[in-house]
C-alpha cells in the first residue's frame, strides 16, 4: 500500500471516529435534556472510556452526576474538566456551586509565596505552559538568528527579546509547578462518610472523618490505601475504594 492510500485510510478512520464521537456526545446531551441522567452519565462515561475525553464531556458528566446527587463523582468530573480548561468560567462556576454544598468545609491553610505561585500556575494547563516554553525558546532562537544575519535590526530586537525571555521564565515556572501538581494528583471522596486514619490499616487510629465530595492531594499510596493531604494540611490514610483519583 503506498503512502497516499495509507493517508486516505487514516483520514477516513479519523473522520468516522470523530463523527461517531459527535453522535455519542449529542445522544448523551439529549438524554440529559430529557432528564434521563443515568443514561446520560453512561453515555458520557462511554465517550471517556473510548479515549475521546474533552472539557465538554467531563463538564457535562459533572452536571449529570450533580443532578443524580453524586457529589463525589461530580467533583471528580469537574476537577478533570478544570485540568483541561482551568479558565473555563462554566467549569469554575459549577465547581464553586458544588463546593458550597459539600459537607466538609475545609479552610485552606495560610500559605506563603509557594502556595501563591501554585495558585497562579493553576490558571494554565501543563500543555499551555509547555507550548509557551517552546514558543519562547523558538522566538529567542529566531531573534538571535536575525541579530546575526541582519545586525542593523539588533536594536529593534531588544524589546521583543526581553519579552520572549520573560515569557520563557514565566512559562517555565508554570510548567514546573504544573508538573509538581501532576506528581501529587487529586483524589475525591466518594463514600458518604470515610474515616481518615493515621496509618494504612483499619487497625490504625482514626484521624478525622471526610464526607462525599471532599478532595485532597495524594502524597503516597499502597495497594488499598491513599495518603491524602487536605488543603488545611491535615493528612490521613483513606481506603482506595472510597475515593477516586482525578
Amino acid at each position: 500500500m503506498n503512502t497516499p492510500k495509507i493517508l486516505a485510510v487514516a483520514a477516513f478512520v479519523l473522520f468516522t471516529t470523530a463523527a461517531a464521537w459527535a453522535d455519542s456526545f449529542a445522544d448523551a446531551n439529549a438524554k440529559y435534556q430529557a432528564g434521563d441522567f443515568k443514561a446520560a452519565a453512561a453515555g458520557y462515561r462511554s465517550i471517556i472510556e473510548g479515549g475521546s475525553a474533552s472539557v465538554a464531556v467531563h463538564y457535562n458528566l459533572g452536571n449529570t452526576e450533580f443532578r443524580l446527587g453524586h457529589k463525589g463523582k461530580a467533583m471528580a468530573a469537574y476537577l478533570r474538566a478544570l485540568e483541561l480548561a482551568p479558565r473555563d468560567p462554566d467549569v469554575r462556576w459549577n465547581l464553586h456551586i458544588l463546593k458550597s454544598v459539600v459537607q466538609d468545609r475545609i479552610e485552606p491553610a495560610q500559605g506563603g509565596w509557594p502556595e501563591w505561585l501554585s495558585a497562579q500556575a493553576a490558571w494554565v494547563t501543563a500543555r499551555e505552559a509547555a507550548l509557551a516554553v517552546a514558543a519562547s525558546l523558538a522566538a529567542l532562537a529566531g531573534f538571535a538568528f536575525l541579530a546575526l544575519v541582519f545586525p542593523p535590526v539588533r536594536g529593534a530586537l531588544r524589546l521583543p527579546r526581553a519579552a520572549a525571555f520573560l515569557l520563557l521564565l514565566v512559562s517555565g515556572a508554570a510548567l514546573y509547578l504544573r508538573l509538581g501538581d501532576e506528581g501529587e494528583p487529586r483524589a475525591v471522596i466518594l463514600g458518604r462518610e470515610v474515616y481518615a486514619r493515621y496509618g494504612p490499616s483499619l487497625k490504625e487510629t482514626k484521624a478525622f472523618t471526610l464526607h462525599e465530595g471532599a478532595e485532597g492531594r495524594v502524597l503516597d499510596q499502597t495497594k488499598d490505601w491513599l495518603f491524602l493531604r487536605l488543603s488545611d494540611r491535615n493528612a490521613g490514610w483513606v481506603p482506595r475504594d472510597s475515593c477516586e483519583i482525578v
Binding site: A18, N29, S54, D90, Q103, A126, A144, P152
Partner: protein, 632 residues
C-alpha cells in the same frame, strides 16, 4: 526590696539546714540491709536496700564483690532528715534490684560503705533461689514508683511468658448515662523491651459510637511493681465510647499486638551492669544476642452499665445531647436590603458527642424565606476529651422592608456531672431591612428552578444553580494533552534552547564591519552638528584658531564617517569621487568651505568675526545638503 527579702529567706533556710545537720551529726551511725524476700524463684525480683541512719559526712555507694547468678541494677539513692520532738535523725537509702538467673543458695556481699571517709563493713546476706515457677517468698505487694526508664531484661531461656508482657483494658467509669463517654484505656505492662503494633483484633463496640484518640507523641511510662515483679507501664490506646442505648454491656476489648525484643544472656553477672537511666557502667564487658518475637496480647472483657436518661425534667427541646455545652448565635449582617440573603449562624461549643448533636433550627418566620441549613463540625481530642464546636448556617432572605427580630433558639442537654437537664437560649438578633429592588422575587424564582432535591444542603445556596451542559463539541486540539510528557517535545526544546544560546553568542561575539559602518553613517550627522555647536561657541568667544579647528573636525569627521575613512585623509577629491549624485552647487560650496578652513587654520591671516560667521553658515549648509546625498 525583693533582693533583701530573698537574702533573708535564703539565710533562714541555710541556718535551719546547718542546725538540723549539726544535730543529726551528733547521733550514732547505723547501717541496715533489707531484702524484700529471702527466698525467690528464678526471674523474680528482689529489692535490696541499704539504710544508713545518722550518718555524718559524705556517703559513698556500697561496694561489694561481683555476684554470680544475678542480674542487677541500681534503683537510686534517697535521703531524708527528720526533726521530731526536738530530735533529729537522717536517713539515706540505696536501693538495688536483683533478678536471680539460676537456682541455689546465694550469698550477697560482704559490702562496704564509706561514710565521712571512714569505711564501714556490712555483713553478707543469704538468698535461697528456687527454680522458675516454684512458690517464693512473702505475699504479693503492689506499689507504684516514680517514672523511670525501662529496665533491659535478660530472660533466662529466651521465652516470652504471659507474665512478661500483658495488656489490661479498663474503663474510667463503671456506670454512664446514654451518650455519656466512657474512656476505654489499654494499658501495657512489660518487663521486656517491647513495641506496640496496634490491634490484632478490633474491639467489639456494637451499641457504641466510638471516638478514637490519636496516638500520643510521647507515651507516658511509669514503673510499677506487680506480684513482686517490676513492670514498665504505658497507656497505649484510648477510645471514647458513647453508648447509644441503656443496658449492661460486656465489652470485648479485642487483642493487641506487640513486638518483643529478648536479649539472650551470655555473661550478665556484673552488679552495676545497668542503672535506672539505662546507661552501662564502665564494668560492662558483656555481649548480647537479640531475638525479636511477635506477641499477641488479649485483654480481658469488661462490663459497663449504661443508665437511661431520666424522664423527669426532660425539656421539650431536648434531642439527646449529653455533656457540657455553650451556644451562641449571630447574623452576618444586621442591615440589608429586602431580598438580600443573610446568614444566621448558630455555634454550639462544648464537650460531648458533637457528631450526633442536633443544633437547634429557626422556627418559621413570616416575611422571610428560610433555606435549609448546612452544618460543619470541628472536633478535637487533644486533651483526651471529645470536644469542639458545631456550626449551623441558615440562609434567610427578607421579603420586605422593616425592623425584624430573629428569635432566640433553644438548646437542651443532659449534664451527667449533675445528673440534670439544662436549657440554653441564644440572644434574639435585630435585623433592619431596607426597601430594595425586586430581588426577593428574583431569588425565589431562581431557587424554583434550582438544583434537584438530592441533598438538603443543595438548597442552602442563595438561589443559584449550576450552569447548563455544553452542547457544542469543542474543537479538537491538534497537539496531545500530555505534550509535556513526550520525549520529542523535550528534544525540540533542547534544540531550540541550544540554538538560541549559540546564535546569541555568535551574534554578540563578532560585530559586522558593515554594521559598524552603518552605525558610523547613522551617527555622522549628529556628531558633526555637535561639533558645529562647539565651534559656534568658540566663534562667539572670538577664539579664531579654536573655531577653525572645531569646524574642520566637524566637516572632515562628517565625511570620514560617511565614507568609512580616517578624518586625516579626507580631501575634496575623495569626496567628489563618491558624490556623483551630489548637486554641483553643493560640491562647489564644499570646495570653498574646505579652502576657507585650510586658510583659516594654516593661512596665518587675520579673519574677522564676519568671516568666521560666513564659514560657520557655509558649514551648516554643506552638512544639510550632503545629508540628502548618498555617497557611494
Amino acid at each position: 526590696m525583693t533582693t533583701v527579702k530573698r537574702k533573708i529567706r535564703v539565710s533562714a533556710l541555710a541556718a535551719a539546714f546547718v542546725l538540723l545537720w549539726g544535730a543529726a551529726a551528733q547521733a550514732e551511725v547505723a547501717i541496715e540491709t533489707s531484702v524484700s524476700r529471702s527466698r525467690a524463684a528464678v526471674g523474680e525480683e528482689i529489692v535490696l536496700d541499704f539504710i544508713i541512719t545518722n550518718a555524718s559526712g559524705a556517703i559513698s555507694k556500697p561496694t561489694f564483690p561481683p555476684l554470680d547468678g544475678f542480674t542487677s541494677y541500681s534503683q537510686g539513692h534517697s535521703q531524708e532528715i527528720m526533726f521530731v520532738n526536738g530530735r533529729t535523725t537522717s536517713k539515706s537509702v540505696f536501693t538495688y534490684i536483683l533478678i536471680p538467673n539460676s537456682s541455689g543458695k546465694k550469698t550477697l556481699g560482704p559490702f562496704e560503705i564509706n561514710i565521712g571517709g571512714k569505711p564501714y563493713k556490712v555483713a553478707p546476706i543469704e538468698i535461697d533461689v528456687t527454680p522458675q515457677g516454684t512458690a517464693s517468698g512473702p505475699p504479693a505487694t503492689y506499689t507504684t514508683s516514680a517514672v523511670a526508664s525501662p529496665s533491659p531484661r535478660a530472660l533466662p531461656q529466651g521465652q516470652v511468658g504471659d507474665q512478661d508482657i500483658f495488656v489490661r483494658a479498663w474503663l474510667d467509669k463503671d456506670e454512664v448515662y446514654v451518650n455519656e463517654p466512657a474512656m476505654l484505656t489499654y494499658t501495657l505492662y512489660t518487663r521486656l523491651s517491647a513495641t506496640y503494633k496496634g490491634f490484632e483484633k478490633e474491639p467489639v463496640t456494637t451499641g457504641f459510637w466510638v471516638e478514637d484518640f490519636p496516638p500520643e507523641k510521647t507515651i507516658k511510662r511509669t514503673e510499677q511493681v506487680l506480684n513482686n515483679s517490676r513492670y514498665v507501664v504505658a497507656d497505649v490506646r484510648k477510645l471514647a465510647l458513647f453508648p447509644t442505648e441503656a443496658g449492661v454491656y460486656t465489652l470485648d476489648p479485642g487483642v493487641l499486638s506487640a513486638v518483643v525484643e529478648i536479649r539472650n544472656e551470655e555473661d550478665f553477672n556484673s552488679f552495676f551492669s545497668y542503672n535506672i537511666f539505662g546507661r552501662r557502667s564502665s564494668q560492662f564487658p558483656q555481649t548480647f544476642v537479640s531475638q525479636v518475637v511477635q506477641k499477641t496480647l488479649p485483654a480481658d472483657k469488661t462490663t459497663l452499665v449504661v443508665k437511661a436518661l431520666p424522664e423527669a425534667g426532660k425539656p421539650a427541646s431536648f434531642t439527646g445531647a449529653v455533656g457540657q455545652y455553650r451556644i451562641e448565635s449571630s447574623l452576618d449582617r444586621d442591615d440589608v436590603e429586602a431580598g438580600t440573603p443573610v446568614t444566621f449562624r448558630v455555634r454550639l461549643k462544648g464537650q460531648g458527642n458533637l457528631n450526633t448533636v442536633k443544633t437547634p433550627s429557626l422556627p418559621p418566620l413570616e416575611d422571610f424565606k428560610i433555606y435549609d441549613s448546612s452544618t460543619s463540625s470541628n472536633i478535637t481530642k487533644d486533651r483526651l476529651i471529645v470536644e469542639g464546636e458545631k456550626v449551623t448556617e441558615t440562609v434567610i432572605v427578607p421579603k420586605k422592608a422593616g425592623d425584624y427580630t430573629v428569635p432566640a433558639v433553644e438548646f437542651s442537654y443532659f449534664d451527667p456531672s449533675t445528673a440534670s437537664y439544662r436549657t440554653l437560649k441564644t440572644e434574639p438578633r435585630k435585623l433592619t431591612v431596607r426597601p430594595g429592588s425586586d430581588e426577593a422575587a428574583e431569588t425565589e424564582a431562581a431557587t424554583g428552578v434550582g438544583v434537584q432535591p438530592v441533598e438538603k444542603e443543595n438548597l442552602s445556596l442563595t438561589g443559584k444553580d449550576i450552569r447548563y451542559i455544553k452542547m457544542a463539541a469543542p474543537r479538537p486540539w491538534l497537539l496531545p494533552k500530555d505534550l509535556h510528557r513526550r520525549p520529542l517535545y523535550w528534544f525540540v526544546d533542547a534544540v531550540l534552547a541550544a540554538l538560541a544560546v549559540l546564535l546569541t553568542a555568535m551574534a554578540g561575539r563578532k560585530p559586522d564591519a558593515r554594521g559598524a559602518l552603518a552605525a558610523r553613517i547613522r551617527r555622522s550627522g549628529q556628531a558633526a552638528r555637535r561639533r558645529l555647536r562647539t565651534a559656534e561657541q568658540k566663534m562667539k568667544a572670538g577664539k579664531q584658531d579654536d573655531f577653525y579647528a572645531e569646524t574642520s573636525k566637524a566637516v572632515h569627521g562628517y565625511f570620514a564617517d560617511k565614507l568609512g575613512l580616517a578624518p586625516q585623509i579626507v580631501t575634496f577629491e575623495k569626496i567628489e569621487q563618491h558624490a556623483a549624485e551630489a548637486p554641483p552647487q553643493a560640491l562647489n560650496e564644499l570646495r570653498e568651505l574646505l579652502q576657507d578652513l585650510g586658510m583659516g587654520r594654516f593661512g596665518r591671516v587675520e579673519h574677522g568675526p564676519e568671516a568666521m560667521r560666513k564659514v560657520y553658515e557655509k558649514a551648516g549648509r554643506v552638512l544639510t545638503a550632503f545629508e540628502k546625498v548618498k555617497l557611494q
